[in-house]
């Protein structure tokens, strides 16, 4: 059940992610489809409306309808009028693991991801060294 649920939401997230792809930045505004008339909710249903995500192609907003902890409907409330070609442009770069024995000095890293540090913990962190150009 969880897998099915996951697939539905990820499809939505994936769509928004694709639309967010920023390699082909344009400054021109594009036409936006009018928001749609929404069907009323049945008893026991609960709607969650996502925030409008501003993408380079225009604003995108989705709405999920939940019933008994399952997502039963996904509606794209707002989307750029012109997308079909553009969505195909984005090539997703799969993340790659580089597993050699590493020290921060030898790894040529740009940043460090780890458990969230406090501002006190930051002072001793590798990120702090990177920020100071060490």
């Amino acid at each position: 059940m969880r897998r099915v649920l996951a697939a539905v939401v990820v499809t939505v997230a994936g769509l928004v992610a694709l639309l967010s792809f920023r390699t082909h930045v344009t400054s021109s505004e594009r036409a936006v489809a009018s928001p749609r008339q929404l069907p009323p909710l049945s008893p026991g249903e609960h709607a969650v409306t996502g925030h409008t995500v501003t993408t380079v192609y225009g604003p995108v907003q989705v709405r999920l309808v939940e019933r008994a902890r399952m997502i039963v409907a996904v509606t794209i409330l707002q989307h750029p009028a012109e997308t079909a070609m553009d969505i195909q442009i984005g090539q997703y770069a799969f993340p790659r693991l580089v597993g050699e024995t590493l020290t921060a000095q030898s790894a040529r890293i740009d940043s460090v991801s780890g458990a969230t540090y406090t501002s006190g913990g930051y002072i001793q962190s590798l990120q702090s060294a990177l920020d100071s150009g060490a």
Binding site: A6, V10, T23, L64, P95, D110, S113, G114, L130, D131
Partner: protein, 263 residues
Amino acid sequence: MLSDFPVSAAFPAVTGRVRHAEPVMGTVVSFDVPAQARADGSLNDAIRWLHWVDRVFSPYRPDSDVALLAAAEITVDGCADEVAEVITACAALRVFSGGYFTAAPSGVFDPSGYVKGWAVERCAEILSRAGSVSHLVNGGGDVQCAGRRPGSGEPWRVGIADPARRGSLALVVEAADSAVATSGTAERGAHIVDPFTGRPASGLASITVVGRSLALADAFATAAFAMGPSLAREWTESLDGYEAYAIMPDGETWQTGGFTTAE
């Protein structure tokens, strides 16, 4: 002469890079941006955004919207619009994670588990909108990259902290236009609560999630950490567009199938 060329995002008038570290939200947010972002004010806009988020969303400030909401002194209607946006996202993520991600980890409304990643991702968007195609924002260990490494066309290289050895890296993730979020116990101890037991989760030393959005990657990492190793592995494998790398307390590691490994 420079003035002979049109000044636009594609032909920045200012070249070079700027690094900036901003203390905010109880941590430090680090920026690696084109110098143009300082010149055009977008770096400053991103920093002001973070402080605004802190004022509105901090559960530790008695006058923040979130603190007043948790104390039932105001309703969502009395809050900044972004509060409803965050509540909506948290509700969707709770469903999506089978209840392991929650905006009330200790029973009191506290969306901090979502807010930082979301706010840092929004910083990267502010910089993109101003014309930057290559920048990186790191919010206390959770990273949003836009584009690729400046100049080279190579992906960004993000080191994953070794949870067992402070100051060392476990590995490096190469990623373009992606977020890298890690949850773990190394910095602040066992602070992520399994909402089904009410006890701090400790089955993983750290879990890193890589994907397009930092708001989602960060929430997925938190949820997976709360799940514990076996459920986290199954769940992260099911995530389309998001990959996970986990380090166990005994140093063993596992990863989802979508990572490619360097030769």
